[in-house]
Structures are given as structure tokens and as C-alpha cells.
Symmetry: C2
Subunit: 143 residues, 2 copies
Amino acid sequence: MAELDIAEVAQRAGVPASTLRFYEEKGLIASSGRRGLRRQYDPGVLERLALIALGRTAGFSLDEIARMFAPDGQPRIDRQMLAAKAEELDRKIRELDVLRDSLRHAAACPAPSHMECPTFRRLLKAAASGPVAMPRRRTPGPP
Amino acid sequence: MAELDIAEVAQRAGVPASTLRFYEEKGLIASSGRRGLRRQYDPGVLERLALIALGRTAGFSLDEIARMFAPDGQPRIDRQMLAAKAEELDRKIRELDVLRDSLRHAAACPAPSHMECPTFRRLLKAAASGPVAMPRRRTPGPP
DNA sequence: GTGCTACTTCAAGTCGACTTGAGGTCAAGC
DNA sequence: GCTTGACCTCAAGTCGACTTGAAGTAGCAC
């Protein structure tokens, strides 16, 4: 039989079981049944979890991802949305490119203080005028 | 006289006054005095706020940024830290590059369902094996 | 001197994605 | 049959960066 125990899904998908329960509560995944208390999953859940991980990586929220599944569970991904996200990502990448180069310069800059480095000052001006949203990192941390 | 009122600093720096108070509480900025109750700022605070914005953009936390100022208020930025952040940023950029390209492909892909597109499936596998931390957006929102 | 209004303080609330803790249950091994 | 341990539920907590709300106050115009 092909049913997977929650522990196995957790292990294979690389997420804690608590996350699986949380996703279920949010309607992102479904368990195919129970053995006693324990959730059993259809192997297809792994693909679905991969899809969720992908969506998260692309910057979609869990709610947005939830909307990407048709009621029957089939992914129903709006191509326009993907294209829009790709463009958004592209803009962000460009910004990060500039930032990375500037950081590198600042790191290598021979000016005695960063405030005396023209490149650094230019960076500052840019930062002052065009703030970019930047992230927190996901740090699940140890038990 | 060159003192700026909190409202003016807020306006010029493009952040709400509440943020300035919050930053002060965190020790990131300091007001130069008061006129009555109202905070007055030295114009240098604008540069400092730009520095903070820059740091945020680069992915530093407020606490990390706080540590980038010497007790005398002068920025004291560790070049090694900058270089490390630049490398971190570079890795992230590469990941996002791949992701963007894949999203674009998926958006343009002629397969009837995404699950039948080989590129999409490859993407999925990658997402499943190497999860990437991705951000929340800063959405200050309307009053 | 009175009002208006933009500031002030301080505590508490928000957002998203989970995690943690307390107390309970059950399949399996001995 | 009893223990063990991994799962269960449900509520509450966490993290970071702020925002919001209530209640108070001072500078300025009149």
C-alpha cells in the first residue's frame, strides 16, 4: 500500500510534522485518512508540498498558494500571475545586483571611513530615495 | 539654525514619525533636543537614516545595524561583514535568477497543465530539495 | 486666555508562518 | 495487559519591525 505516515512525509519533504498539520489547517494539503489517530498521506502530497515550497520561494504567500489549487486539488496556476511574479522577481534581482556590487566596493574601498568613499555616499543617496523591502530570513531553529 | 523638527525629518526621510521614535528607542538615532515636547534633530540624522535604510535593504536587522555605529555615533562598518553580506546576496541572486527564468518558462509553457511540463517538474524537484528562504514584503499600508 | 493641532508617552496590537506546551490517545512491542 | 513513544488537539507563544490607541501637553494663532 502506498499510504505514507506523517513522519515519513515530514522526513521526505524536509518539513516538521507541525508544519504539515498547519498546512492542512490552512487547506493547503489534505491527509488521505488516519491510522488510529495518525494522519496518512497519499504520495501525491509530496509533489504538492514541492509546489508549495516553490511558491514560497517565488515569494507567494500561503494564501496566494492556496488559491493556486482548484477545488479538485489540481494545480491551476494562472500564467499571467507567473509572468507578473517573474517580472517582480526580475526587478528585485536588479536592485540586489546593484546592492551587491556596492557592498563589494565598500568592502574593498580604501577610504579611511566609509563616509568618505564616493561610491558609498552614492549608495546612501540611492538608499535614501528608493527604499527596497528586504526580508527576514526563515530560521526554523533547533528544538 | 539647522535643527529639524521630527515632522520634517519624517517627511524628508520618507518614514513616519512613529518610526523615528521607534528607532530612537532602539538606539539607532538620537534627537538633538526638544522644543517643548517635540523632538528636534540634527540634519546629520538624515544621513544616518539613509545608512539604516541601506542596511535594511542589504538584509541587516536593526540590531545588526545598531552595532555598526561606534559609541561616538560614527559608522564603524566591518569590511568583512560587508563582504560576507555581498556573498550572501550573490547566492540569493543566483537562486532568484534560476527561479525567475523558470517562472517565465512556466508562464509561456504550452503544456496543457503545468504538471506535464518538464521544466516545471524539474523546478519542482529543485524546490523540494533546496528550499530557499524568501521574504515577506514590507507593507506599511494606509492609515 | 482659549483652542487647535501636532506632537508626546506607554502599552498593546499587527502580520505571516510557524512552533511550543499541556494534556490526551493509541498501535505496537514485550 | 502494560508501557512506551510517537502521534493527536487546541490554545498560546514567537520573531521583527513597526503601528495604533488612549490620554496628556505645549507652541502658536487668535
